[in-house]
Amino acid sequence: MTSNHRLSHLDQLESEAIYILREVAAQFERPALLFSGGKDSICLVHLALKAFRPGKFPFPLVHIDTGHNFDEALEFRDALAERIGEKLIVRYVQDSIDQGKAVEEKGKFPSRNAIQAVTLLDTIAEFKFDACIGGARRDEEKARAKERIFSVRDEFGSWDPKLQRPELWNIYNGKIHVGENVRVFPISNWTELDVWEYIRKEKIDLPSLYFSHQREIVWREELVFPVSKFISLDGNDKVETRTVRFRTVGDMTCTAAVESEANSVDDIIREIQVSRTTERGSRLDDKRSEAAMEERKKGGYF
């Protein structure tokens, strides 16, 4: 009886994530779940259903909309919130720009990734959120690999990698001073493959972007970029139609597609198993410097 009573790795990861979500509910007054309509935050929502049903979520879903999102992701976001009957709060980077709080980048590859932090911090202040749950994973990037599951940010939203609290066993310390905020990452220990295997096991719906489709693209630094009204094309850019899918879904300006015929979760899992590049390899924002992610996190990015 004992030998088949061993949880599989996915069940262990799921149980750990549910435990973390329930700790957030217990330890904080006003938490929020950061929800972008991407696969990791969709998994978080699914895990929250497992943690709190038949009760309601003890937090709203919050999306910081950069204005450069894919329509497919936004539609999916709204439909999911509607279907599960949970509250969705959306705040717009465009509003921060209009208010003069954030300044749009200039240059050939402008991105709203960094200024997203401005809107996020304003939203945290507006609703007095004391904890923000995010779908970041430690396998994504080397600065993330250093981050605790409960990651304390100061009143400026800043992360100090040298002053992290020791995190022992699964006893999480969510005590903070007024104005501070904790970013909580329940799927820290998951890899991209774990997420996809979980999506398969749980039959979780995803936006169509993740699956193979035809799209107009241009090549940028050997990456396949979707053509949209948010990127400026010049004479050197050659627009082509290719069969692509997205491994990660962020802004249209900084998320590259991969050429792929994978149009089912099984196909995608097979593709990732033999892939020689990381998911973040298609994010232009991480390629800016050796410490791009670390710098953004120090600036309040989640």
Binding site: L7, P54, R138, A145, T278
Partner: protein, 410 residues
């Protein structure tokens, strides 16, 4: 497939980061863009610097040392691995304790040229204190001692001599060269005298002990789920993660510390009800009687109760700049409990490199000692040696909110 969580420990420059880099590299868990990034960052002695894969912080890359625990992931068809890459410097002992607290196994690296050194003692002591079931001693840099079996056997003898005072249940030795990959993933051609497995093979094969088979079922309550909707008008479920053992519908339950009793009416999950649930599952338990149960309480099977007390004895590792002086008050968090606690006395401090017990008036950063603690309310616990999940705690300074100590109850 299951998960093995392990920590790597060793002194600075013993090659921990290189070993992890090698494990990832040779098991083909490194991606092209990661490789290109570390290639761009420069080479060491004509080889790519695998250590850069784990040193994720700018300050770490600048100084070439590991400051904080980095978590790395890889899997083989047999197992998923979570590596806690802990720093070797004495001043980061607390980070090593952090990494060890969640691990099933420790890899302790020894530089073949230097043999067993003070840091080896210190790290082994911590591994023994945190009761990791397995220790793998990797004698690294065998290439720099001509792959000598004699050197390896001498270090093995030296280590076993010192480890006999420690509570290490299972110790294994391996001669390796992390830089060249000898015995890391593939068996080494340079050490034909070595008949054992490679490190990866060993990690894939060892049996992981979990607390699901514990005879003492423990369920600390995290939240009370009360939807108060028409459909679930009278629903009252206790959400939590089973720390050890099994719970079955119909089991007689005692709620601690109140001592109230009832029976399990249902074990609920989002995917439907269960008849039996076991560690480490996160479930929601409903009881037959309407009794007072809230976060911090523990459900146990009647007749298999843990210790309940306000007076605790424990080993603690001090993790704060501000020294611990007896009489100070802290918030103690154990399972889902948070109670005020005062340290009554420091019974002794342990010299981690010699295991000597010293009388001391206070405990400084990274020091380990035995203390007596009084809590404001009784807590239910098991000795750490029996159940890690209910015998561990942290102390939080209520002024700074910092986690200042890791504790293991006796």
């Amino acid at each position: 497939m299951d998960i093995l969580r392990f920590i790597t420990a060793g002194s600075v420059d013993d090659g921990k980061s290189t070993l992890i880099g090698r494990l990832l590299y040779d098991s083909k868990s490194i991606f092209q863009d990661q490789l290109e990034a570390i290639e761009r960052a420069g080479q060491v002695n004509g080889q790519i610097n695998l250590a850069l894969l784990t040193d994720g912080l700018k300050a770490e890359r600048e100084q070439g040392i590991t400051i904080d625990v980095a978590y790395k992931y890889f899997s083989t068809p047999k197992r998923k691995f979570i590596i806690a890459d802990a720093p070797g410097h004495v001043q980061y002992t607390r980070n090593m304790v952090t990494g060890a607290s969640n691990s099933d196994l420790a890899i302790i690296l020894i530089d073949a040229r230097k043999g067993v050194i003070e840091q080896t003692y210190r790290h082994s002591y911590i591994v023994s204190l945190l009761r990791l079931p397995y220790v793998v001693v990797c004698v690294n840099k065998m290439d720099l001692v001509n792959f000598s079996e004699e050197v390896f056997l001498n270090i093995q003898k030296q280590y076993l001599e010192f480890a006999k005072d420690l509570d290490l249940k299972s110790i294994h030795f391996l001669p390796i060269s992390a830089l060249n990959g000898d015995n890391v993933v593939e068996a080494s051609a340079s050490m034909p005298w070595w008949k054992g497995k490679s490190l990866l093979h060993f990690l894939e094969e060892i049996e992981i002990h979990t607390e699901e088979e514990s005879p003492a079922p423990r369920f600390p309550v995290q939240n009370v789920i009360r939807p108060q909707t028409t459909e679930y008008h009278d629903y009252r479920g206790y959400a939590g993660q089973i720390r050890s053992g099994h719970f079955t519908v119909g089991d007689s339950i005692t709620v601690l510390p109140s001592g109230l009793t009832s029976k399990i009416k249902a074990i609920d999950t989002f995917d439907g009800p269960l008849t039996t649930a076991y560690a480490p599952m996160s479930v929601t338990i409903r009881l037959e009687d309407e009794i007072d149960v809230s976060r911090g309480d523990m459900l146990v099977v009647t007749g298999k109760e843990p210790v309940i007390s306000q007076d605790l004895e424990a080993h603690i590792c001090w993790m704060d700049q501000k020294v611990m002086t007896p009489g100070s008050k802290y918030l103690l968090r154990q399972t889902t409990n948070a109670v005020k606690a005062s340290i009554r006395s420091l019974d002794y401090r342990v010299e981690t490199s010699t295991h000597e017990k010293k009388e001391q008036t206070n405990l400084g950063l990274n020091e380990i000692g035995k203390v007596t603690i009084r809590t404001a309310k009784p807590i239910a616990y098991d000795p750490y040696s029996k159940i890690r999940g209910t015998g561990s705690f942290i102390l939080v300074d209520e002024g700074t909110n910092q986690t200042v100590a890791a504790g293991m109850l006796l």
